[in-house]
């Protein structure tokens, strides 16, 4: 929700980024304040998933210009693990499988790593087991998830739940959900969305990267941004998402170009 005493969590200015020398982000601006839910929408290849990965610090992407301040720190000066410990969480579009590593072990290590950073007590395996089981109820996950290898043999829905479970454990200031709705059936979508909604409060913020309006029926955004060709070309409220659902993305681009043209003409005159 938008509120008056909110503080700025993330401020991105003029962000340019390349992958393999190809520029994907071309001057993206975004301000996210505490308590807010932002949806980032756009056609395939528009750069929305790249934006999510750049925030998290994926090594395949190179930031060539622009800044991203996260709670007063320059995000691009931090390593990926430092960003995570500082409170930036990325729910992956395709969570990777890690054979041989028990989920319980992995979850405890990540939990304790982040707690240590915050100066909090770490949990031993028994304490953690109680703690994580409680969190798993939120996502209606069966306890046998704990004994399985991280994401190995998980269905698409199970992987996404496991991502949100991690977000629930780590309680980040900024949760970036990269196409969390993809590959989910309607029941799983509702469970995952419920889990996310439970986690949103006035001190944190969520950025949802998504293709479809469907997710936004469950997680209602305060802002909807349309990304095209590496920058945000339109921002609106949840109604914009509905409009996109019926009209598609093309008209936004046309409108944006017309506005640019008008500005250019004005400048010339």
């Amino acid at each position: 929700m938008i509120n008056k005493d909110s503080k700025t969590i993330l401020e991105v200015r003029g962000l340019h980024a390349t992958v393999n020398g190809v520029e994907i982000l071309k001057g993206l601006d975004l301000t996210v304040k505490s308590g807010e839910v932002h949806a980032i929408m756009g056609p395939n290849g528009s750069g929305k998933s790249t934006f999510a990965k750049v925030l998290a610090g994926h090594t395949a992407y190179e930031v060539t210009a622009g800044t991203a301040m996260f709670e007063g720190q320059n995000l691009f000066e931090l390593t990926p693990e430092e960003r995570a410990r500082a409170g930036v969480f990325l729910a992956f579009q395709y969570p990777i499988e890690i054979p041989g590593v028990a989920n319980s072990q992995f979850l405890r290590l990540t939990y304790n790593t982040v707690q240590a950073q915050r100066g909090n007590e770490e949990l031993d395996p028994l304490e953690f087991d109680d703690f994580v089981r409680e969190k798993m109820k939120l996502l209606e996950m069966s306890p046998n998830f704990l004994d399985r290898s991280v994401n190995e043999g998980f269905s698409g829905g199970e992987k996404k739940r496991n991502e949100i479970l991690q977000m629930a454990l780590l309680e980040p200031q900024l949760g970036v959900l990269d196409e969390t709705d993809s590959g989910l059936d309607i029941d799983a979508l509702s469970i995952v969305a419920h889990g996310v909604n439970e986690l949103v409060n006035k001190n944190n913020a969520i950025v949802l990267v998504t293709h479809y309006q469907r997710l936004l029926n469950y997680i209602v955004p305060d802002f909807v941004h349309v990304v095209d060709n590496g920058r945000i070309i339109k921002t609106g409220d949840k109604e914009l998402a509905l409009e996109l659902e019926t009209r598609g993305y093309d008209w936004v681009g046309v409108e944006y170009q017309a506005a640019n043209l008008a500005m250019a003409t004005q400048g010339a005159a």
Partner: protein, 478 residues
């Protein structure tokens, strides 16, 4: 990321120091005279000198094997001294009498003997260079009739047992390195578990190569009589010399009816520097004879050190219903080369064998699994299951699997599974995004990969192995 990882891989060898103890070193070179010298220095009986000379004669006619997937300059066997013993005589009765310098060495290695004795209840037969310095818990073991002593002592005090079994599993002419060992071995461990006795504690030997350019030719013999059982641990480290050191050990195990021998190794000898200079050449012959019905021999190894590892702990399944097991983790980094695996030879009926091999290669290293499963014509109902998994770290390393299967009995069931995986940037990024750095991530992935093998290790060894792998590999992904 890769630079950080490279640095971590290239951590200097922790156990690189030389203990300043005077050594009694024989002239370099190998001849019949050298062998006679070793034998007389050790006051050996005539039959053992003959055993050595016979091996030497066989060895002279043999060629160094070239079939393995390892490459190294020819070893100058005449440039090696075949005998070195710390000047530490006569034999010591308690640890208090041990040279404090020696005790400090063990402490640097992280193996404080007295602590082990007190806390872990492990009997340690200490091998320092080639002569046993102190044997602990011997009295306690003697109460149940177990003999656990150095090979030299066994030769003098239990000659009939040694003579009965020595060379029965690995004949003197078995292979080039085994023949060499048979000719010149200086010491090792001997363990005898009498009928029906379950050894009340883990038996452990810590080997350490100490004198520069001294070949190590250890000889170990373990005999478990009917219904006896024993778990034996072998752990090794060596100092960081730049000239290569040859190690050609022989280990023989004999299990009679219903006997059970479990042999575990953690090997961390000097692997050479990051450019591949130096390091131990480890050419070891290990074989167990599951001689009696229902006997079981189980090898577990964690091989992390040595510039070259050439090692195939094997089991001859002669007794009906006997069981052979091989659980292995082999880690190579930088320019290390490992060609290791096992042989399971099924002779008796309803014999079963299990092979689980995990190879991890990082840096420019090369890691090969080589295994033979052989089922003889009389081995009705023989079963084998083999699983060989390789993990590559970085893109400069190599992994190979060479399984040989020879089956001459239609009722046999032989299964072989193999896989290759790679620690990739995406896995590491996933960990990083959860706040976990590359070192911790690699350690967790590797330990997960090796879990099935580590589970086979005795408790204190498992912890050691986990740490060792972390040290060897943390951050080696690039």
């Amino acid at each position: 990321m890769s630079e950080v990882l490279q640095d971590l891989v290239n951590q200097p060898y922790k156990h690189g120091f030389v203990t300043d103890i005077e050594s009694d070193v024989a002239e370099k070179g190998l001849s019949e005279d050298t062998i006679r010298l070793i034998s007389s220095k050790k006051n050996e009986p005539e039959w053992l000198l003959e055993f050595r000379l016979k091996a030497y004669q066989a060895w002279l006619k043999m060629e160094e094997p070239t079939w393995s997937n390892i490459h190294y300059p020819k070893i100058d066997l005449q440039a090696i001294s075949y005998y070195a013993a710390p000047k530490q005589k006569p034999k010591l009765k308690s640890m208090d009498e041990v040279d404090p310098e020696l005790l400090r060495t063990f402490e640097k290695l992280g193996v404080p003997l007295h602590e082990r004795m007190a806390l872990a209840g492990v009997a340690v037969d200490v091998i320092f260079d080639s002569v046993s310095v102190a044997t602990t818990y011997k009295d306690k073991l003697a109460q149940v009739g177990i003999i656990f002593c150095s090979m030299s002592e066994a030769v003098l005090e239990h000659p009939e047992l040694v003579q009965k079994y020595l060379g029965t599993v690995i004949p003197t002419n078995d292979n080039f390195f085994a023949a060499l060992n048979s000719a010149v071995f200086t010491d090792g461990s001997f363990c005898y578990i009498p009928k029906g006795v379950k050894c009340p504690m883990e038996l452990s030997t810590y080997f350490r190569i100490n004198t520069e350019e001294t070949g190590q030719f250890e000889r170990t013999l373990i005999v478990a009589e009917e219904g006896a059982s024993v778990s034996y641990l072998e752990g090794c480290t060596a100092p960081a010399f730049s000239s290569n050191q040859l190690h050609a050990a022989v280990v023989e195990l004999v299990a009679l009816d219903d006997a059970d021998i479990k042999y575990s190794t953690v090997q961390n000898w000097y692997a050479g520097d990051k450019n591949g200079l130096g390091g131990v050449y480890n050419f070891v012959t290990k074989r167990g004879m599951a001689k009696g019905v229902n006997s079981r021999i189980s090898w577990t190894q964690v091989e992390t050190g040595s510039a070259i590892t050439w090692k195939y702990p094997s089991v001859i399944l002669r007794g009906d219903n006997s069981i052979g097991e091989f659980y292995s983790v082999a880690v190579t980094n930088n320019y290390q080369q490992a060609d290791t695996g096992t042989k399971m030879v099924h002779i008796g009926k309803n014999t079963r064998s299990t092979i689980v091999s995990k190879g991890i290669s990082a840096g420019h290293s090369n890691n090969s699994y080589r295994g033979l499963v052989k089922v003889g014509p009389k081995a009705d109902g023989a079963r084998n299951f083999s699983q060989c998994d390789s993990m590559l770290i970085g893109d400069q390393s190599g992994a190979n699997t060479f399984p040989y299967i020879q089956v001459r009995n239609n009722s046999a069931q032989v299964e072989h599974e193999a896989s290759t995986s790679k620690i990739g940037e995406d896995q590491l990024f996933y960990f990083a995004q959860r706040g976990i750095d590359a070192e911790a991530a690699v350690s967790m992935i590797i330990n997960g990969f090796c879990k099935e093998v580590f589970q086979q290790l005795p408790m204190e060894f498992a912890a050691e192995a986990t740490q060792l792998l972390g040290l060897k590999l943390e951050g080696s992904v690039g």
